[in-house]
Amino acid sequence: MSLYYVQKLLFQLNRDPLVRKRYEADLDGLLQEYELTPEERTAIRSPDIGLLYVMGVNGQLLMHYAALRGFEWDAYIAALREGERRYGPVRTGLYVRARTAGS
């Protein structure tokens, strides 16, 4: 799992104008600097906001990446729901839904 590095990339992208410039000029080169799986790389590039959510990316990072990629608030929420529908429940992290007894 390289979820840590997915989140680190989004964290740096959100707060560092230089990383933002690199993101705009050379996304492939930037992605190579982080230890990411092919699935993670594709999800960031697409972007597949729903898949990133299901992977466990913290929404406090993800909502800003979605905004950067042009998702208005309602579209962002809809993308998360679509992610759960297409890829199943969140795999790890804070958003794993509490299991009911016996499940």
Partner: protein, 272 residues
């Protein structure tokens, strides 16, 4: 002097960023109470404002995550978010570096702290400042409690931090105001954004208002996550304020779930 004002308020980005989508009368009442808090704060003529917040990866990340961090910068800036997204313009906010350092040194007698001489505010501090210090003239001492990336500091340690802050304030010559800002139950930035467990919120607030230490410290993170969402971890900010104002009761000036703001919007002021 010492502590001259203490209160708690919400900071959700929707409060300013999605203001136009809330029920107008609820929003007006919430904003009026935030303004009432500003007036009460100003009436105490504070020299500095300590803001106990819970930021969302603006400065602190899992590469080196402090449980507690206190700002010690000459000045701060924010919001880190897009101005249009948050509905707050970028500002430079004055710090109080010398006071910060004295508070930190004093608190370190009791609790382990990180400090930071560089800090960009996100909505977690900018939304409170937007309402409480709209001219951004009052020097600020920011405090962050990690409520985002577990493992999280235990509630009892938040209380101990608040108590240490009070002791440090009591030894300072300045007139110091403290506000804490966090959500109660909420599921921000998730498909459940807008869900609010009002009953849980009201039970928690009753304990907070009465400064019932044992009951406040009895919440487990497992229960909080189940009943109040991952956003509920921010009760740490309320607990720290309760520790800072141990023995004092607070008044609830406003509470109402406002779903488009994604939180039960709260304004409370401690009777010091």
């Amino acid at each position: 002097m010492s502590l001259v004002f203490a209160g708690a308020l919400s900071h959700a980005p929707g409060i300013t960023g999605r203001a136009g989508r809330a029920d107008p009368s609820l929003r007006a009442s919430f904003y009026a109470n935030l303004d009432r808090m500003r007036v009460a704060l100003e009436a105490q003529r504070p020299d500095a404002l300590v803001v106990i917040g819970a930021e969302h990866f603006a400065n602190f990340f899992m590469n080196n995550m402090p449980s507690l961090c206190v700002g010690m910068a000459d000045s701060y800036s924010g919001p880190i978010e897009e101005e249009g997204w948050l509905g707050i313009k970028r500002h430079k906010v004055p710090g109080a570096p010398e006071l910060s350092q004295r508070l930190i040194v004093e608190m370190m007698q009791d609790v382990d702290l990180a400090y930071a001489q560089e800090w960009q505010f996100d909505h977690g501090i900018m939304v409170p400042l937007h309402f409480l210090t709209p001219q951004y003239e009052l020097p600020v001492v920011p405090v962050n409690i990690n409520c985002q990336g577990p493992p999280l500091i235990p509630l009892a340690r938040c209380w101990a931090f608040g108590r240490a802050l009070r002791r440090a304030c009591d030894r300072a010559a300045e007139r110091i105001a403290v506000v804490s800002t966090g959500g109660i139950s909420h599921w921000p930035a998730t498909p459940d954004s807008g869900k609010i467990n009002e009953q849980w919120d009201r039970e928690f607030l009753a304990k907070f208002l009465d400064n019932r230490r044992a009951e406040l410290l009895a919440y487990t993170d497992e229960e909080t996550h189940r009943d109040a969402g991952q956003g509920g971890f921010e009760i740490r900010t309320f607990v720290a304020l309760a520790g800072c104002t141990e023995g004092s009761k607070a008044e609830l000036w406003f509470y109402a779930p406002i779903p488009i703001f994604a939180v039960g919007c709260t304004v409370a002021v401690v009777r010091l």
